[in-house]
Symmetry: C2
Subunit: 234 residues, 2 copies
């Protein structure tokens, strides 16, 4: 067990070093970066697609897409004519999360001079991705209202690591036994400083707050050499 813990510590320390490189790199390039994390099926790809549709007249957006295998999500997004780089973790042992080195490698394949904002869509997993700082400006957790109100209490590290929690698929609220106040209370119990936005990518209800959040992030990045947001794990 001691050996396992030592190896895990080495992996996390090596990841921290790569994340610091990413942070410096994206700051110099003045590109805002957002790490999108969630359980499988919370609607991350749908949300990113709708977000790009709204932002495309003002901003150049790219996506680094993380999946164990398949390129289905990146194909969905690339059909919008944007830059998408797919990371498949299967050749690396089917990793259940992205690491900073993978993001670094993917970014090196992009035409960065043309980008204002990069979404990193992490592997669908509410546990392991939270342990790996990617060196981005903002960590966002998407929690579908279909998953129930208790998830922040059961998966606390994810909610502690993020600065925004999106409660997604709110168009389904009318047919669920779901108490939105309880969900918000649980999120804030784990992380009192986290922002919460309720939205539906399907109906566009609540998208305004999310778009403002992103525009603010891009504005700050363009006009400063410092990162506004606390990196994951700190």
């Amino acid at each position: 067990m001691k050996k396992e813990i030592m190896v895990l510590r080495n992996i996390l320390e090596s990841n921290e070093a790569d994340a610091a490189v990413n942070r410096d790199f994206f700051t110099r390039k003045k590109i805002a970066t957002v790490n999108m994390m969630s359980s499988p099926g919370s609607g991350k790809t749908e949300l990113i697609g709708k977000t790009i549709d709204i932002l495309s007249s003002e901003l150049n957006v790219g996506v680094i897409e993380g999946d164990i295998c398949t390129s289905m999500d990146s194909e969905r997004l690339a059909s919008r004519g944007i830059q998408v780089v797919q990371i498949n973790t299967e050749p690396f042992g089917g990793d259940c999360h992205l690491e900073a080195s993978m993001v670094k490698g993917a970014a090196s394949l992009m035409d960065l001079g043309r980008l204002d904002l990069i979404f990193v869509e992490n592997v669908g997993n509410l546990v392991c991705p939270a342990e790996f700082d990617l060196g981005v400006d903002s960590n966002v957790v998407v929690l579908s209202v279909t998953e129930g109100e208790d998830k922040p209490l059961k998966y606390p590290l994810m909610f502690r690591t993020c600065d925004l929690c999106i409660l997604s698929k709110t168009d389904l609220l009318g047919v669920l036994d779901y108490n939105a106040d309880t969900a918000r209370m649980h999120v804030l119990k784990i992380n009192p400083r986290i922002e919460i936005i309720e939205l539906s990518a399907k109906t566009s209800s609540g998208m305004d707050g999310w778009i403002s959040f992103l525009k603010n992030l891009v504005f700050i990045k363009k006009n400063s050499n410092c990162s506004r947001h606390t990196p994951a794990g700190e």
Copy 2:
């Protein structure tokens, strides 16, 4: 990287040995065991609760409940007056999955002479739990229809490891953009031998097939010294 892979191999080999012990143990005790796996929020606890309500007049059912932290789910189930043992993985580094040794330890706390069937509710995670054989009779993956049709293709190991896939929350089908035929096709593409049951624990639609599956498992276990189902990872 080589060191990491070696440590991972050691962990998995050690887990295999513990799983073999569990398999022999539960066979001798003639207790059927089912490992329930899924993303967070697929409705595993709700389904197990409703299943116990239906089976309680015929069978004695116990639950080994796996969570990173909290005992919310075990409290929900224990209110039915059944035996429930909670495993919290947080003291073990917040593990994102159960291991065979944890199940062995939990079973040792139960009054096994009074049980016909044990559900092991794994940590909500569609990736890592599939790598760890627990030495049970059946691995079951619960996939909520709210998660979309593509998950079997994106998380293939989970669907390869299981002998039953439950497509849950079918009461929501009327309000989702979801094609049940596509979902079934994707499940069977990954694992042509898997059984598929569509059900709603909320309305009880489709529960009959699931109850039959479990009764069959218990009957075989009571009347044989051999395990009918292929263990995970084989």
